[in-house]
């Protein structure tokens, strides 16, 4: 483990949210190291801080203290715009609520991160990504014309379009029915395996967590002791 490069390295991360009496210590002294190509499931009760932790390692939230290194890059040293560019190129994000842009077609949504990087073949690659999630025939559809499962597939295609090193997913099946959810999870793990991506997955579902290489449990803003981490042999 020591010689292998870490995809994610968090040390002493603390985050407070809110103000005055409503101020909450959401993340407390988080130390976390995730190896490249590892699949990690973040589990824990509501309010335990797992989504906030996900946002920190996706560079969407800056910690009050501590350091966040993604592929060796210290996110604290990147200004807002450089961080946005870094995120666009190296981190793919899948949200529970999909967060597609409603005024853009499926193809335009997927092409967006590629276009932002100036890729000349953005639309051709976006079409390939849509095909890879089984939506080759839905290019011109707007989000409102797609089912929940289809919207999440588009979101997944968008997240991996730029070929990121790390894919983070925040309860990606939370808004989907069981069958659709399972299909999406299968797709996520297939893509992860095919592209050698590091995966960090927030979930409430123990079965889903069990498909990861490692499960990190959170409670009250802390990671529960390391011995509790379950190291699973290739569970999938």
């Amino acid at each position: 483990m020591g010689i292998e490069a870490a995809a994610v390295e968090l040390a002493g991360v603390n985050i407070h949210l809110g103000r005055g009496a409503a101020r909450v210590h959401v993340l407390r002294d988080i130390d976390l190291r995730i190896k490249s190509r590892e699949a990690v499931g973040l589990v824990g009760p509501s309010g335990s801080g797992k989504s906030t932790l996900l946002m920190v390692l996706a560079g969407l939230e800056r910690p009050d203290s501590g350091s966040v290194l993604i592929e060796g890059h210290d996110l604290a040293k990147l200004d807002e715009d450089r961080l946005a560019r870094f995120r666009g190129a190296r981190i793919g994000i899948v949200f529970q609520s999909f967060h597609l842009i409603p005024t853009m077609t499926a193809l335009e949504n997927v092409a967006m991160p590629l276009e932002l990087q100036g890729a000349p073949d953005a639309f051709a690659r976006a079409a390939q990504e849509l095909a890879s999630v089984g939506l080759a025939d839905r290019h011109v559809h707007y989000p409102a014309q797609l089912s929940g499962g289809e919207q999440q597939r588009v979101a997944l295609a968008r997240a991996i379009a730029a070929d990121p090193a790390i894919l983070v997913a925040d309860e990606p099946t939370g808004n989907l029915d069981d069958a659709t959810g399972t299909a999406i999870i299968d797709l996520i793990f297939d893509l992860k395996r095919a592209r050698g991506t590091t995966l960090v997955l927030v979930t409430h579902d123990p079965l889903l967590a069990a498909r990861c290489d490692r499960v990190v449990r959170m409670r009250s803003g802390r990671i529960e002791p390391a011995e509790a981490d379950v190291i699973l042999p290739a569970a999938q």
Partner: protein, 862 residues
């Protein structure tokens, strides 16, 4: 809430107390989100109330000071001839008589000359109020003869123009005068109308001695009577005054005087005040209407925020109409805050203006509360609120309870129910009717309403077409442009709101800029060689020929024109007495006071006949007259009708031989009334002479003519056209300040609406920005995209503003002001560009805040 809502089926009118209670209970939570709403209403109501209150305050002030301004209870004025002994005895038997003679002349000192407005007074002047002099001394002392030299007092302006001080001697006509004091104020200044030169007061004896009062000289005798009141009264009653006028008219039916009373000093001034008031009220109304789109979007936002509360209300048994009534009550409660604040702030304007600027403005203002003005502001405020709020509020009716059970991602938009459409239409109709009913000029009000409605419809169509076209256009390959255009045609786009507020605001700005530029152009545009540089008045008929030769010798390049000039009043129109005629607005001035009258054997230059024929050169039959066609139309006259004038105390009835179209813009010699020469055979008259220089003359040449004429023909009054135009331009500038002040209120309203629209769209924008940022978009790229978006919207609004503004200005200038129209773009383009840049900056400031939203915060709240 359940208590009331259960009582479905009862008429809503009987439940207003409960609705009001519910509204107030809900409002305890604060009125956040209503800043723009209240601001828009406040501004409009304030502008309308303030303009109306100031106008009332001015009318009141004039009425209160009427006796002082007029110089008595009633004045009998006419040109050329002073009162006869018989007339004088008649008036002195009924009150105290004080007369002043007013005429223009030239004052000279060393080599300097200046046009002056002489007021020659008798020993009883001023009958009311006081003349204030510096140094302080009684007026009659200042005007007296000391060491054989008569005294005079003059405006400070004259001392500056002629470089004179108290004690110096000045030549007027054939006499020398000593300047004994400077004039600080004269009580009856307003009754004198617009003066083109500084005021000089001297005694009537001195005026007679100056040789200026030759036969036919343009002098106006104003005889003021302070009527002896009935026993027991301090001042004469209106009845006493009316009786005096009736008696005077009966005793001297052909006197030809113009009668003014203390309550009716200057109908023309009052009409101008009314017109300006109407114009400013309409601009105030524009600010309310521009603010209307802000009102509508605030109410839409309110309904969205209240969706859950309304659904709960419906779940507890409230009908759709009841929910609507509840929300309407709440909106009216909030609107009443803005209306009350606006009406109050407008109502106190007379106090503020009179208190702060009372001594600076030349009009008497009465500081008082004017209920009509306040009521007007409140009515307009309420009607505009209802016109713009009823539609969005009607959506409340169809908010379904099912929304409580599942998230409605995209709430169904059904068509607004017909009853709410009708209610909205009724409110709009009431608004239009109020604007029409309270307008002294129906035509202007109709044009205004047409333009406003038209602008709304066009801007709506424009926004709809822009959105439709962009939606259908192939998506641009460039990401930034695509992002910008997407924002314009996305669902819930700001385009209609932005186009409406910016478009209307810019249109108003361009209209005013173009009217202003056109008026100035009318004044400044002199046609060299045609437009005279000088008018010479009081040239005796006997001197006319030699004076022409004199001018030709001194200005060999100049073009000299002459026309006989008398002054008289129209006393009969067709078969009716002039006072019984109700002329159209554009012709009313002809019946007020004296008009210049001439006679000619040929059609004057600059005129063309439109009806009838001109008389033969040697015509010697009954009197004939040629009339300006527009005035004839305004008075309801045609060729063949009779027209009576009183000239030099003689009433002459002439038949209208023809109508003429007159090109007034050249400023050449032209008259509304041109008689056949035999009409005034033997009457004393003077000649009006004009001198137009060839192109390229200099100011020095003009001044040389002015000096030499004053020296060689002291009785002739030279009026430099440029000085007159400067005076008129000055008045227009002062009016423009009032108009700009009123329109700036409309522009502030437009900016408020724009800010409101941007604020309303911020959540959707922030969402897109955050998602794009998570995908790697930089702030710069997002900012550029938004800049492109605002530029496209701004450019469309500017295009509309320029076209609609220019069209409105064209109609106003050509149809209402009856001038030629010139497409003067410079000022309009500058105004539009500045407003546009300002709007873009405002948008970008709002956008910058969106860009600053932290993704995590936004994502957490979604």
């Amino acid at each position: 809430m359940s208590i009331a809502i259960g009582r479905a089926g009862r008429p809503i009118e009987s439940q207003w107390p409960l609705l009001l209670r519910l509204a107030i209970r809900d409002l305890r939570g604060g009125i956040s989100g209503f800043g723009i709403f209240i601001g828009c209403i406040f501004l409009g109501v304030w502008a309308i109330t303030a303009v109306s209150a100031l106008s009332h305050s001015l009318s009141d002030g004039l009425a209160r000071e009427g006796r002082t301004i007029l110089g008595g209870d009633v004045s009998f004025a006419r040109s050329h001839t002073p009162l006869s002994d018989e007339e004088r005895s008649f008036f002195t038997a009924r009150g105290a008589l004080s007369g002043v003679a007013i005429m223009r002349a030239i004052a000279r000192h060393n080599d300097q000359t200046s046009l002056i407005e002489i007021k020659a007074v008798d020993g009883r002047y001023p009958a009311a109020g006081a003349v204030v002099l510096s140094p302080v001394l009684p007026l009659q002392d200042a005007l007296g003869v000391h060491d054989g030299i008569a005294g005079m007092v003059a405006d400070q302006t004259l001392s500056a123009r002629l470089d004179i001080k108290v004690g110096d001697r000045i030549e007027i006509g054939a006499s020398s005068f000593e300047l004994r004091a400077l004039l600080t104020s004269e009580p009856d200044k307003l009754a004198g109308g617009i003066g083109f030169g500084p005021r000089v007061i001297l005694s009537q004896d001195a005026l007679r001695a100056s040789g200026l009062l030759q036969p036919g000289a343009l002098v106006r005798w104003s005889n003021r009577v302070t009527v002896t009141p009935e026993r027991g009264s301090v001042i004469a009653s209106d009845r006493d005054i009316t009786r005096l006028i009736e008696d005077a008219n009966a005793a001297f039916p052909n006197a030809g005087w113009e009668v003014r009373t203390r309550t009716n000093i200057s109908p023309q001034f009052s009409r101008n005040v009314d017109r300006l008031t109407q114009f400013l009220v309409l601009i105030g109304l524009t600010s309310l209407i521009v603010g209307g789109s802000g009102i509508a979007s605030a109410v839409r936002g309110f309904v969205e925020r209240k969706r859950t509360a309304i659904a709960i209300m419906r779940a507890l048994g409230a009908s759709g109409s009841y929910a609507f009534a509840a929300m309407l009550t709440e909106i009216l409660c909030i609107a009443s805050l803005g209306i009350a604040a606006g009406a109050l702030a407008g109502a106190v304007m007379p106090f503020i203006v009179a208190g702060l600027f009372g001594t600076l403005i030349p009009f008497p203002l009465t500081a008082a509360l004017y209920p009509q003005a306040i009521a007007g502001g409140i009515v307009y405020g309420l009607l505009v609120t209802l016109s713009f709020a009823l539609g969005p509020l009607g959506r409340v009716h169809d908010i379904s309870v099912s929304g409580l059970f599942r998230d409605e991602v995209e709430p169904q938009r059904s068509r607004l129910r017909w009853n709410y459409r009708l209610l909205t239409a009724a409110a709009a109709l009431a608004l239009i009717s109020t604007a029409l009913a309270t307008s002294p000029n129906l035509r202007l009000a109709l044009i205004y309403i047409g333009a406003t409605l038209g602008s709304f419809v066009i801007l709506r169509l424009l926004a709809g077409s822009l959105i439709a076209v962009l939606r259908r256009l192939p998506r641009p390959r460039g990401l930034t442009l695509r992002l910008a255009l997407l924002e314009i045609h996305r669902p819930g786009t700001l385009a209609p709101s932005i186009l409406l507020s910016l478009g209307l605001g810019l249109a108003l700005l361009v209209t005013l800029a173009m009217i202003d530029a056109n008026l100035r152009q009318q004044i400044e545009q002199q046609i060299p060689g045609t437009t005279p540089s000088f008018f010479f008045l009081d040239v005796r008929a006997a001197d006319a020929s030699s004076f022409q030769d004199y001018l030709k010798a001194h200005a060999p390049q100049g073009l000299v024109e002459t026309a006989p000039l008398l002054r008289g009043r129209i006393v009969k129109v067709g078969d009716q007495r002039a006072e019984d005629v109700h002329p159209k607005d554009n012709a009313a001035w002809v019946l007020e006071g004296d008009r210049g009258i001439t006679f000619a054997s040929k059609v004057p230059d600059g005129s063309s006949l439109t009806e009838g024929t001109w008389w033969p050169v040697d015509y010697s039959g009954p009197p004939l007259v040629s009339l300006d066609e527009e005035i004839a139309d305004g008075l309801g006259l045609k060729a063949g009708d009779a027209l009576g004038v009183n000239v030099l105390g003689r009433e002459i009835t002439a038949r209208i031989a023809n109508l003429r179209r007159v090109n007034w813009r050249t400023l050449g010699i032209n008259f509304v009334l041109v008689f056949s020469p035999n009409t005034f055979a033997g009457a004393p008259y003077t000649t009006l002479v004009t001198l137009a220089f060839r192109p390229g003359n200099t100011s020095a040449e003009e001044n040389a003519i002015l000096r030499s004429t004053a020296r060689d023909y002291p009785a002739i009054t030279s009026i430099k056209v440029k000085d007159v135009l400067d005076a008129v331009s000055n008045i227009i500038s002062q009016l423009a300040i009032a108009i700009r002040a009123a329109s700036s209120v409309a522009l502030i309203a437009a900016i408020l609406v724009l800010a409101g629209a941007i604020a309303a769209g911020q959540r959707a924008r922030a969402y897109d920005a955050v998602v794009l940022k998570t995908l790697g978009a930089t702030r710069r790229r997002l900012l550029v995209a938004m800049l492109v978006e605002y530029t496209v919207l701004g450019a469309v609004a500017a295009l509309f503003g320029l076209i609609a503004g220019a069209a409105a200005a064209y109609v106003i200038v050509t149809r209402i002001m009856n001038f030629d129209f010139a497409w003067v773009w410079g000022q309009s383009l500058a105004a539009a560009s500045l407003a546009l840049i300002f709007a873009l900056l405002l948008g970008l400031i709002g956008t910058w805040r969106v860009l600053g939203v932290e993704p995590a915060k936004m994502l957490r709240s979604l």
